[in-house]
């Protein structure tokens, strides 16, 4: 195990393939993104960055919105197709572009927006400024400035407002003052209403040159001015004091074309693509970079939200630079590659050792950086793999096999010590200084060393025997002065007051071999064990770091405490930062197959630069301008509903608006093509869909409430990803809404109820009718079969049978007819009046045989009335009643008249009641009445006076 690990970490494998950039040792990461329009390569002249992270690029002929991969093109009006854009400004949802022909174009941020063009002057527009919403200041190269406010345009120039000159290159607004860089000095102007008053700061007031080209605010009261003669002045606005950046000015860099703030630093560029970084706006540690020639000359630049510098050079590519990440690959004399050991001291030097010796890399003015050989390794000496600076400013180095050495860096004298001088072991893997003692971790245990009178005294740690096989990879001192040892087999060992405490005893799974360790600002000890991973601990508790989001099988080479309680990790997949508060490591620089072959290849200097030595280059990473939680920004670009673009403020849709398409993008300028998306439609699905496409499509969504959420990541760290949501509702169709269903049910129920009621009523009416009918029939039949009727009938028959045989037969036939008709009509509700009359006539015939001419019946009905309807046996009953209840004799004949009067059928008889009334059931007349009411809803009338009894039946058809 030990051998294997040792080989793994100390194995020397050198196969150097130095990349390009030979002439300039120090390079930021440069890269380019093609913003070509579909058919024609764009000529990009100006740029601006909006809050969502999009780049707005003013090209010749059109404005582009660029997200790193795709662009939205917004053409200019025809009149501006050939004009050259010279400057641009992003206002609230508007893009304002100045052109070389003096035109200012204002356009919305979406296609098909209103565009407004004003011809301000004949000179090129050089700069645009929005001091407050609605007011735009336009600087021109030749005609001073213009203040545009709603519909007014006020002109101020050298004659009217005392501008230093009418040729204005740049302007900034600072401390309520408008600062103009002109050909003849700086103008400090106060603008109020239509007034503009300016003071001039020029060479008479200490400016190094009059021809000022560029401006940048340094703080709230100081502005940096870049001059044509290659100088930069810092102008204090309230005092008017001017100070020069002497070291920069001495460079004779040529005209200072532009100044840019990048975090706390000031960047400037001069002709030929030279870029200078002035950390913290001072020139003490300035750095110089050369933009690769094939990238062209920057026309405009800006610092984006990710702290990249973004440039346009007139071509179709956007050029980006990440100045906080710099590669040092080669120097004039010495390669930075394959450094075996790194150390930053408190004087700002970086010491590095390779197989040729030890070098001092100093970032200093005049040479920007230089390299001093402090020590040349003899051919037979083994590799230098550890270094340490002691209290007296002596540099100690440990080798892998040849003991340790000590360099007096002022004199360059070197002394060496080996096992013969008392050193525990000649393989010194790690060293740390504690007061006057230096602790050395060797392959034979740990020993301390003290210098007394120039002679070292080595004393091994007493408990060395308790450290297993004695291979110590790493040694450090924590805040409370405890010695921490990274052992092989015993894990992390804490040594305090002669006692050895093994972390493994408390936490058995905390790693047996510990090869790298560091202490963060909070006091936690972080370490890496190849067999267990990365942990941090305070001795009492321990927590493991999940490296999964850094990529599969990530190997950690080295670690070092960084700013803000963070810890930097050099891993096989790049550089990552992690802290005890945010235990998910974030990759600040992704580089696959990064390889480091040594242990002490990470250090941090006083300027918050973290230095990493890999097998191919040295990387300097500036933490001062990195932002914590830098991550891709997710944007929901458009929502399509039924394939139509929808305003995202609309959140409610009809039931048939159910086909949703979402277009989204991720802004991650560091590597736009690496963005991966995850999206989810809550209310429809519970899982995340992972894609590299920019579109999510949901056809035929059922009604409901949904939330579309999309997030993007470049490193798979979804917990930290920027997330965008859009909630919306699809209405339930009318048919499916609860109230509608309730209403419909109600209607159906009421209809059914009404129908039922009607039906029930008709049934009951029918039953009643039936009953009445039956009653009527019963009455009739009872009357007919009552002995009296039959007696009368048979008496009559007997009286005529002997006299008139023919007549008797006739009589019997009529009698049978009568009964047949009664039986026939028994079940009918109504019958025609003619049919009823047939019965009546049969009945009258029978009665007349008995009463002869004493019974007179007159029927006077026309044919029309004969078609009307009547309940069966109505007339018969009435006639029978008349006969039954009245005296019929020769002296008092009964006359019955059946005739039509108006719309009534009248049945009348002269009233001559019998003295002894007939027994009567009394239901005859009321039966008729109720039958008329049930059947026709009409009533019958009964009129009676002394002489007459009439029943009036309504004529019903």
């Amino acid at each position: 195990m030990a051998r294997y690990r040792l080989n793994n970490y100390l194995l020397v494998c050198v196969a150097l393939t130095l990349s390009c950039l030979r002439s300039h040792a120090q390079q930021p990461r440069w890269w380019r993104l093609d913003a070509s329009q579909r058919n024609t390569p764009a000529q990009l002249h100006c740029l601006a960055s909006d809050q969502r992270g999009y780049l707005w690029l003013a090209a010749r002929g059109s404005l582009l919105r660029f997200d790193g991969q795709r662009q939205l093109t917004l053409p200019y009006p025809d009149s501006l197709q050939l004009a050259t854009p010279t400057t641009m400004l992003l206002s609230d949802n508007q893009v304002i572009i100045g052109f070389s022909n003096g035109v200012v174009l204002t356009t919305g941020m979406a296609a098909q927006q209103q565009k407004a063009c004003i011809k301000v002057c004949n000179s090129p527009v050089t700069c645009l400024l929005e001091p407050r919403p609605g007011t735009i200041i336009i600087a021109t190269d030749g005609e001073g400035i213009f203040v545009s406010e709603q519909n007014s345009l006020v002109h101020h120039n050298s004659r009217t407002a005392g501008l230093a000159d009418d040729y204005v290159h740049e302007m900034v607004m600072l401390a309520g003052k408008l600062v103009l860089a002109t050909d003849l000095g700086i103008s400090l102007c106060t603008i109020s209403n239509d007034n503009c008053r300016c003071n001039t700061i020029d060479t008479h007031k200490g400016l190094s040159d009059n021809l000022s080209l560029s401006l940048a605010a340094v703080d709230s009261l100081t502005v940096a001015v870049g001059m044509h003669n290659g100088t930069i002045s810092l102008l204090h606005l309230t005092t008017g004091n001017v100070s020069l950046l002497e070291k920069f000015n001495a460079l004779q860099s040529g005209p200072v074309q532009s100044l840019l703030r990048l975090g706390p630093d000031l960047l400037t560029r001069t002709e030929g693509g030279m870029v200078y970084v002035l950390p913290s706006c001072s020139d003490t540690n300035l750095q110089q970079f050369q933009l690769p020639a094939e990238y062209g000359n920057p026309l405009h630049w800006l610092a984006d939200a990710e702290n990249n510098v973004v440039m346009v050079t007139g071509g179709h590519e956007v050029v980006l630079a990440d100045f906080h990440l710099q590669y040092l690959t080669e120097h004039d004399e010495q390669s930075f590659a394959n450094a075996q050991c790194l150390l930053a001291d408190e004087q700002g030097n970086i010491w590095f050792a390779n197989d040729k010796g030890i070098f001092r890399h100093a970032v200093e003015f005049s040479k920007y950086q230089y390299l001093q050989t402090m020590y040349s390794s003899p051919a037979d000496e083994d590799k230098i793999i550890s270094m340490c600076m002691d209290k007296n400013g002596k540099l100690w180095f440990g080798t892998f096999g040849s003991g340790v050495g000590c360099i007096d860096i002022t004199t360059g004298k070197v002394k060496k010590f080996t096992e013969r001088d008392g050193l525990l072991n000649n393989n010194v893997l790690s060293m740390v200084a504690q007061d006057t003692t230096i602790w050395m971790a060797t392959l034979g245990g740990v020993c301390s060393m003290r210098m007394d009178d120039g002679k070292p005294t080595f004393s091994p740690l007493e408990q060395s025997s308790e450290l297993g096989n004695g291979y110590i990879y790493s040694v450090s001192i924590d805040r409370s002065g405890r010695l921490l040892l990274g052992t092989d087999g015993q894990g992390l060992v804490i040594y305090e007051h002669g006692k050895v405490m093994r972390l493994l005893e408390k936490f058995p799974a905390s790693g047996k071999a510990v090869v790298a360790m560091t202490m963060d600002d909070h006091g936690f000890t972080w370490y890496y064990s190849p067999d267990a991973g990365v942990y941090f601990t305070d001795g009492e508790s321990i927590q493991q770091i999940d490296l999964e989001n850094l990529g599969s099988s990530t190997e950690v080479y080295a670690m070092h405490a960084a700013t803000g309680e963070e810890v930097a990790l050099l891993t096989s997949n790049g550089i990552a930062y992690v802290s005890y508060m945010n235990v998910t490591p974030r990759l600040v620089h992704e580089q696959a197959d990064m390889q480091a072959d040594y242990l002490n290849v990470i250090t941090r200097d006083m300027q918050k630069n973290m230095w990493f030595a890999t097998s191919t280059s040295m990387i300097r990473f500036n933490e001062s301008i990195t932002k914590p939680n830098l991550r891709p920004v997710t944007n929901l670009e458009q929502v399509f509903v039924n394939l139509q673009v929808t305003d995202t403020t609309v959140r409610s849709f009809k039931a048939n608006q159910n086909h949703f398409t979402f277009h989204f993008t991720s802004i991650w300028w560091k590597s736009p093509q690496e963005a991966v998306y995850q999206y989810q439609l809550a209310g429809f699905e519970n899982n995340w869909n992972t894609t590299t496409e920019h579109i999510a499509n949901y056809p035929r969504l059922p009604p409901g409430t949904y939330t579309f959420t999309v997030r993007s990541s470049a490193d798979g760290n979804w917990a930290n990803a920027h997330t965008i949501s859009y909630s919306f509702t699809i209405d339930t169709p009318l048919m499916q809404r609860t109230w509608f269903i309730a209403l419909a049910l109600l209607v159906v129920v009421s209809i059914v109820y009404l129908l039922l009621r009607l039906r029930l009523r008709s049934i009951s009416r029918r039953e009643l009718l039936q009953r009445k009918l039956l009653q009527g029939q019963f009455e009739t039949l009872r009357n007919q079969v009552n002995p009296h009727f039959l007696f009368n009938a048979f008496n009559t028959l007997v009286s005529i049978i002997s006299k008139d045989k023919e007549s008797a037969i006739d009589y019997v036939e009529k009698l049978s007819d009568y009964f047949r008709i009664v039986l026939e009509q028994r079940h009918k509700d109504t019958i025609a009046l003619s049919e009823e009359l047939e019965l009546v006539r049969a009945f009258i015939f029978l009665q007349q045989k008995r009463f002869f001419e004493n019974l007179m019946v007159n029927i006077e009905l026309n044919d029309e009335v004969l078609q009307s309807r009547i309940p069966p046996m109505t007339l018969q009953l009435l006639v029978e009643n008349a006969i039954k209840h009245n005296v019929i004799s020769k002296t008092r004949p009964l006359q019955i008249i059946i005739r039509q009067t108006g719309d009534k059928i009248e049945i009348c008889n002269n009233l001559q009641p019998k003295l002894s009334p007939e027994t009567s059931t009394g239901i005859g007349l009321s039966n008729i009445r109720s039958r008329y009411e049930i059947l026709f809803g009409r009533s019958i009338e009964v009129l009676q006076d002394e002489n007459k009894f009439c029943v009036l039946l309504p004529v019903v058809f």
Partner: protein, 184 residues
């Protein structure tokens, strides 16, 4: 496109008249030569013109210089000159090269030697480009000698060189101007 120069020249003439009485600030260019030098890998081409004309008005610090393209002499052969005039410079279409603008630094008529920056539009081949030139001026009595040198990238002025000869013509031409200016 010659209009601004004509206007400037016209205004210069008018100004000449108005300032004549007071020994005006109008200076005229005399005995000037303009040289260019194309140093390409395969061939060096040099040519000179003595036909540079110009005026400087120290009252408002404006100036105008002009040279006719077809007055350039030199070259390595007559054929080369023909190519220069016809193919590259298109002298028939764009007969003049001009430089108009203003002086950034104050012209001190008393100084024995001074360096002045002139900012203006250099127009060659019909395309203009803003340049700031350093001009060295030395006084010899009433005569001021001036000298300036600058580089002109062909691309700035839309001058296209066929690929066949791009080893013979430099992408950037060095220009040297020497001459005198005298008060009117």
């Amino acid at each position: 496109m010659m209009k601004p120069i004509l206007i400037l020249l016209a205004s210069a003439i008018v100004l000449m008249g108005s300032y004549a009485m007071t020994l005006s600030g109008i200076f005229e260019v005399k005995n000037a030569t303009i040289k260019f030098d194309s140093a390409a890998p395969e061939e060096n081409i040099k040519a000179t013109s003595t036909d540079l004309k110009g005026v400087l008005n120290t009252a408002d610090n404006k100036f105008a210089f002009s040279v006719a393209i077809n007055t350039f002499q030199g070259f390595n052969s007559a054929l080369q000159r023909e190519h220069f005039l016809e193919d590259y410079m298109e002298a028939a279409k764009y007969p003049k090269a001009t430089f108009t603008g203003k002086l950034i630094d104050k012209f001190d008529s008393a100084a024995a030697s001074q360096k002045i920056r002139a900012k203006g539009q250099v127009e060659i081949h019909g395309l203009s480009k803003e340049r700031i030139l350093d001009i060295q001026i030395t006084r010899e009595g009433l005569v001021y000698k001036f000298s300036a040198s600058f580089d002109v990238p062909l691309a700035d002025h839309g001058i296209r060189v066929p690929r066949v000869v791009n080893q013979k013509i430099a992408e950037t031409i060095k220009v040297q101007v020497d001459g005198q200016i005298q008060a009117q």
